[in-house]
């Protein structure tokens, strides 16, 4: 009985079972297709369609740390209008697949950034916006409280330089990420990760 509830009185307490990753029907189809002659072509076509969808609806987490967040807001607002790229901010990490680390990250904030990243569902991406998030920037020397690069706590996919980067620069970073997403072997990676018992691939 896997109800997740504590066992009722008198019911035998069963040993905790190790969690087994379910290989869904999709993963099986992918495996079979991949082994058939010509199946790879079909897979690639399906994959590119899926990737087009994923790249065109990147939902970032609304999460600003410092000055760069103001430029991020400007990028979402009237003149630059990131919505036209399908980038719509979400207020909770559970609905987001992109984290834009905008601004300097202090040592007190670092564990929270990490936890927010962990709460995001996979596949997930991180853009480090501004020189502070990238390497500590103007707060590199003589400083005891700022993390020297947010890549010490979360894996970063795209670095956007600048202090602060102009909204155009952030948009360029997002376009770069979209290019990358469009080339990913998304289906195969998900399927094989499930088969090999890993919890998804990045």
């Amino acid at each position: 009985m896997a109800t997740g509830l504590p066992p009722a009185a008198g019911e035998a307490r069963s040993e905790p079972q190790p969690r087994r990753t379910q290989i869904g029907p999709l993963a099986e189809v992918v495996e079979v297709l991949d082994s058939l002659p010509g199946g790879g072509l079909i897979l690639t076509t399906v994959e590119s369609a899926l990737n087009w969808g994923r790249a065109s609806s990147l939902w970032p987490l609304t999460f600003g740390l410092a000055c760069c967040a103001i430029e991020m807001m400007a990028a979402f607002a009237s003149r630059f209008d990131l919505d036209r790229l399908g980038v719509i901010p979400r207020a909770t990490p559970r609905q987001a697949d992109l984290m834009i680390v905008a601004g300097r990250c202090s040592i007190k904030m670092a564990p929270i950034v990490r936890r927010l990243w962990e709460q995001m569902p996979e596949p997930r991406y991180v853009i480090s916006m501004g020189s502070c998030a990238t390497c500590g920037g103007p707060f590199f020397y003589d400083n005891y409280s700022i993390l020297k690069g947010v890549d010490q706590v979360v894996p970063v996919d795209v670095y956007v330089p600048g202090c602060p980067p102009r909204p155009e620069a952030l948009i360029e970073g997002i376009l770069k990420l979209q290019e990358r997403i469009k080339k990913e072997p998304f289906l195969r990676r998900q399927a094989y990760a499930a088969r090999d018992g890993q919890a998804g691939a990045r």
Binding site: C67, P138, Y141, N143, I146
Partner: protein
């Protein structure tokens, strides 16, 4: 049978769409009602005061942009430059003083626009956000033509400003003012006359005159509670004593009053800039100051009126090339104290309105 109730501790932030940065509020709840609020700050502590002790007086201007309140870079620069100028006895040319006033007031408009836009989003009015940022982009364009930067300028120098404004800039600035003034009326139409907005702000988060003063609140927060205090009037710096403007005051001390004060302040800023553009004298914009300047031994405290309140800068010199100590009196930090007083007794949903209405910037609180 009497119902047993328990107090609930709820964490709000540091990642929350309406805490405007990385503020954590520890709320003690009795049902929906707030019995106590404890702000937990320090998530953006940048140790900027310490860093300033390691950089020369001239280099530090760049740090005041970034390490302090990032929405009002130019007002920070002005406070720092005024302090060092007072310490070293530097005489600033007339034209530079006027240019500084123009830029500080433009920055006040830009900062209030960001506040209004984000507060609008918190209260569910997305249009205001888009409108405010539309106008703000035009202010930033004006900045960009002169300083090259949108957010961080490093334009003010000890002894003046970096360079004169380019040809035609004053005309562009006047055009913007003509465009902007009617927009303030639009905001009034959009929000002040909106019954939902009024229901969420009128009478909410009241803080009385005496409490506001006791908590050290300043700026629009204090003026909305009936304290008619503005450093630009009380202890004029730059050329504010030569310019005519009113200090808007409200007496009700609620969110609506704070909103009305700021909207009126934008109008007054336009008035100040118009006068300064008219009176703008010709001449030098920068006094000769050695790059490795060494102000004499001593200390100085300078007050300015930033969009968020009284911004103080305390600089101690031991005669060396770097300051011995810099202490920043941040208005957001003091206004955050008043928050606890305002929030007690209100419901969770009202927190968003109250928090937005005091307009804190976490970089200013933590430094």
């Amino acid at each position: 049978m009497p119902l047993r109730t328990e107090e609930l501790l709820l964490n709000m932030g540091p990642q929350h769409p309406s805490t405007h940065g990385v503020l954590r509020l520890v709320l003690t709840l009795d049902g929906e009602n707030i019995t106590d609020v404890r702000p937990d700050i320090g998530y953006l502590h940048s140790s900027v005061e310490k860093m300033m002790e390691h950089r020369t007086y001239v280099q530090n201007v760049a740090l005041t942009d970034r390490g302090m309140d990032y929405l009002i870079a130019l007002n920070n620069e002005a406070a720092y430059c005024l302090a060092v100028e007072a310490l070293a006895g530097v005489e600033v040319p007339e034209r530079a003083r006027y240019i500084r006033v123009i830029f500080q007031e433009l920055n006040r408009i830009a900062s209030h626009l960001v506040w209004l836009g984000t507060w609008g989003i918190d209260l569910g009015a997305t249009t205001v956000f888009l409108w405010c940022f539309r106008e703000r982009e035009r202010v930033l364009d004006l900045f960009e033509q002169v300083t090259g930067g949108r957010l961080h300028h490093v334009y003010f120098r000890i002894g003046g400003v970096y360079a004169d404004v380019p040809d035609g800039w004053t005309g562009a600035c006047r055009d913007f003012l003509d465009y902007f003034l009617p927009r303030v009326d639009e905001y009034h139409q959009l929000l002040t006359q909106n019954p939902i907005f009024e229901a969420r702000t009128r009478g909410v988060g009241v803080i009385g005159r005496r409490e506001a003063a006791a908590m050290g609140a300043s700026g629009p927060v204090a003026r909305a509670s009936g304290i008619a205090y503005d450093v630009r009037k009380a202890a004029p710096y730059e050329v504010y004593d030569r310019l005519e403007f009113d200090v808007p005051v409200q007496t009700s001390g609620d969110c609506l009053a704070r909103y009305l004060v700021r909207l009126e302040e934008m109008r007054q800023s336009v008035r100040i800039i118009r006068q300064a553009l008219k009176d703008l004298p010709a001449g030098e914009v920068r006094a000769r100051v050695p790059v490795a300047m060494k102000p004499p031994r001593g200390e100085v405290y300078v007050r300015t009126e930033s969009p968020r309140g009284t911004l103080g800068m305390y600089v101690v010199s031991d005669g060396g090339e770097t300051p011995y100590r810099v202490k920043i009196r941040a208005p957001s930090f003091s206004n955050l104290y008043a928050l606890t007083e305002m929030m007690r007794g209100w419901k969770i949903a009202d927190i968003i309105a109250i928090l937005g209405s005091i307009d804190i910037v976490l970089s200013d609180v933590d430094r």
